[in-house]
Point group: C2
Chain length 146, copies 2
DNA sequence: AGCCTTTCGATGCGATTGCATGGAAAAACC
DNA sequence: GGTTTTTCCATGCAATCGCATCGAAAGGCT
């Protein structure tokens, strides 16, 4: 295998490092206030926006592994943020609904989450650079070998 | 807390998704051939390039948590890729040396690692876009709140 | 209908992570 | 030189992850 181009290696290392720093910062911000980790927010938001959904749909939307989501939901149900409701037209699955507390938790997390995003990304890259960044990252945010 | 700008949110989600897909792909490629995960490669490369180093130096260079590196080194020593050599001028620490097998392992991993990088990034973004991407990511790859 | 394949979701188990802490040597301070 | 603070690295413990696999229901096919 030939060496990837220098620009590829540079972009690779910075991409991974940047994402790691960003997500670490976000997780740390939430944790510092005793709030759940970012994945919880993503689940809560997806359901609040899209309505009750099946685990499979969330799994695809969020890009998580099947077993990871299954257990994440377990924890969130245990925390009373979500409920599993048997699915009428498919006895294998169920619909995930937000509870009142789930809705409240999402609202409580948002300011912290938003602040973290702003600190980690918004405040560090100019508006037009963020636009360019989003455009350049678009193909990479699609499943590989598609 | 105000809502971050739309461009910030878009860049945020794509950044995290892109990095996740890329690192997953890389880890999966190595695993499929029975090779160790990417972090092992990074450690092996850092030592091969920089010579024997102390855990602390690697920790900074690689951006890992202290305990994570400590245990990673444990595993690599157990796998006979690294040796811990007492440090002459500082009895607290030690120097990490590559073994012959460590050197061989890095060489064995490289083609697979390189191929994965190329597939996940090189082949999906044009040369000039990779350059732009690396430039835009530069500030984000620096520790936050610096 | 009866069988085969696919999809949905959960889970056992071993490996890894993250937090907090511990212990020991070095550095700084007085 | 003795004391306090800081740095370096390891580790106990609980939580989480990742892989593989399983059970059950759907869907397809003949």
């Amino acid at each position: 295998m030939a060496m990837p181009a220098a620009t590829t290696l540079l972009a690779w290392t910075r991409l991974l490092r940047a994402a790691d720093l960003a997500s670490q910062h976000c997780a740390a911000s939430l944790r510092a206030l005793g709030l759940p980790p970012p994945e919880w927010y993503d689940v809560l938001l997806a359901i609040e926006r899209g309505g009750a959904q099946r685990p499979r749909d969330l799994q695809i939307a969020l890009g998580t592994e099947q077993y990871a989501l299954s257990r994440l939901v377990d924890r969130m149900v245990k925390a009373r943020l979500l409920t599993r409701v048997p699915c009428a037209d498919d006895a294998r699955g169920h619909l995930l609904h937000l509870t009142i507390e789930g809705r409240a938790m999402r609202a409580a997390m948002w300011p912290v989450y938003a602040e973290a995003i702003e600190t980690a990304l918004g405040a560090r890259v100019a508006e037009e650079d963020r636009t360019a960044l989003a455009r350049l990252l678009a193909p990479l945010a699609e499943p590989i070998s598609a």
